[in-house]
């Protein structure tokens, strides 16, 4: 058995992890680690040169993901993972750019970037860990916190209506939209791989337990109890109408693949449209980027 520096057996995912930073900071029974493990498995199945893959995260517990993955990775400012990834992709279209961050970062603070990247069909893959709360900052209410759920800024329960994230990105034009929980490891891995292979804006929402803040504040037990809850209450419904995907506090969660379609990506649309308009004067996006 191959042993690593600390004389412990070498885990098969170590080639894609920055082992000097492991153990990671996530709490016991937090679901983010499982999402990362599925992601690494998907990367190992995905046939693409590793030096052409970049991972970008924002801020928050899930924002630490990029720092643990041994690829070109970047930890951006809060909410700005998608614009940073957009720049990466446009400056070097050969790169496979992956954004892996949390709901507070992508849907709340970076919400505007999310909808515009989906609208433009920017050729990036977004994995969003949704744990229903701003975890790292102390469990404040997020735009993804279900109505009725307790958070540190909604001590009597949340009266607000949360985002239905698949509906949000789907209606803006994403080409691939799926949702799984951290317990659906095999399906999540397959879905991540499909999203990586899909040209255009692909999006996977991963419902994951936050044991320390969401589960504790709402007296739901540990992350393991939430995993058991997902086991009993998630319903797989591929192609379910996006309007039906609202999440209610401790009610059934519909998971599955909801959108898988084709649409010209940002760079393809650029080429098609401007090629027609400019005729001889036209320089394709790729050529223009190379020349610059």
């Amino acid at each position: 058995m191959k042993k690593n520096a600390g004389n412990v057996p070498e885990h098969p995912m170590e080639n894609l992890l920055r082992m000097d930073r492991i153990p990671h900071i996530w709490c016991s029974t937090c679901g983010i680690g499982t999402a990362v493990s599925c992601f690494i498995q998907a990367l190992q199945n995905f046939d693409y040169p590793l030096d052409k893959i970049a991972v970008v995260s924002g801020i928050g517990c899930s924002g630490r993901i990029a720092g643990y993955i041994k690829l070109d990775s970047f930890h951006t400012t809060h909410g700005r993972a998608i614009p940073f990834a957009t720049g990466l992709k446009l400056a070097n279209p050969e790169l496979k750019v992956i954004v892996f961050s949390g709901d507070g970062d992508l849907v709340s603070i970076g919400g505007n970037h999310l909808i515009h990247a989906a609208r433009r069909n920017m050729d990036i893959t977004v994995f969003c860990v949704n744990n229903f709360i701003y975890a790292m900052t102390g469990g404040q209410c997020a735009p993804t916190t279900p109505t009725d759920a307790n958070s540190s800024t909604s001590p009597y329960g949340n009266f607000d209506h949360p985002f239905n994230i698949p509906l949000l990105v789907g209606s803006c034009g994403a080409t691939y939209v799926a949702r799984w929980t951290a317990l659906h490891i095999r399906r999540l891995t397959r879905s991540m791989q499909e999203a990586l292979e899909k040209p255009g804006f692909s999006f996977v929402e991963i419902i994951a337990p936050c044991s320390t803040l969401y589960a504790r504040r709402n007296r739901l037990g540990t992350g393991l109890d939430l995993m058991k809850f997902y086991h009993d209450n998630s319903v797989i419904q591929h192609g379910a109408p996006l309007e039906s995907l609202d999440i209610q506090f401790q009610k059934k969660i519909i998971v599955g693949k909801f959108i898988d379609k084709k649409r010209p990506t940002f760079l393809e649309a650029w080429d098609q449209y401007l090629g027609k308009k400019l005729g001889d004067k036209f320089i394709s996006a790729e050529k223009g980027i190379r020349a610059a």
Binding site: P9, P12, S28, T29, S37, T222, L224
Partner: protein
């Protein structure tokens, strides 16, 4: 394992066996692997690791069928399974 109806190719199927490796000091004792192992191979041990958590131990190691569920489910990269050598050489 008990079947409701014996699969027609049951005599031709080779059940793989796995060998479990646990990186004890990396574990945070979440118990995901113990809960979801389909063959109930694992149990939380009564001993502490360096961080003060109870890592799992394989109490029923022979029952492991190399499904690698614990490996993918573990949030800490602290458990993995390899296919047992002798199984690879047996003719299928």
């Amino acid at each position: 394992m008990q079947y409701w109806r014996k699969p027609l190719d049951a005599d031709r199927i080779q059940i793989p066996h796995g060998e479990i490796h646990i990186v004890r000091d990396r574990c945070k004792g979440c118990g995901f692997c113990v809960e979801y192992c389909p063959k109930d191979v694992l149990e939380l041990s009564s001993q502490f690791n360096i961080k003060g958590y109870h890592p799992p131990e394989a109490v029923n190691a022979d029952a492991c069928v190399h499904c690698q569920l614990c490996e993918l489910l573990c949030p800490e990269f602290a458990i993995f399974v390899t296919l047992k050598e002798e199984e690879q050489t047996v003719e299928g």
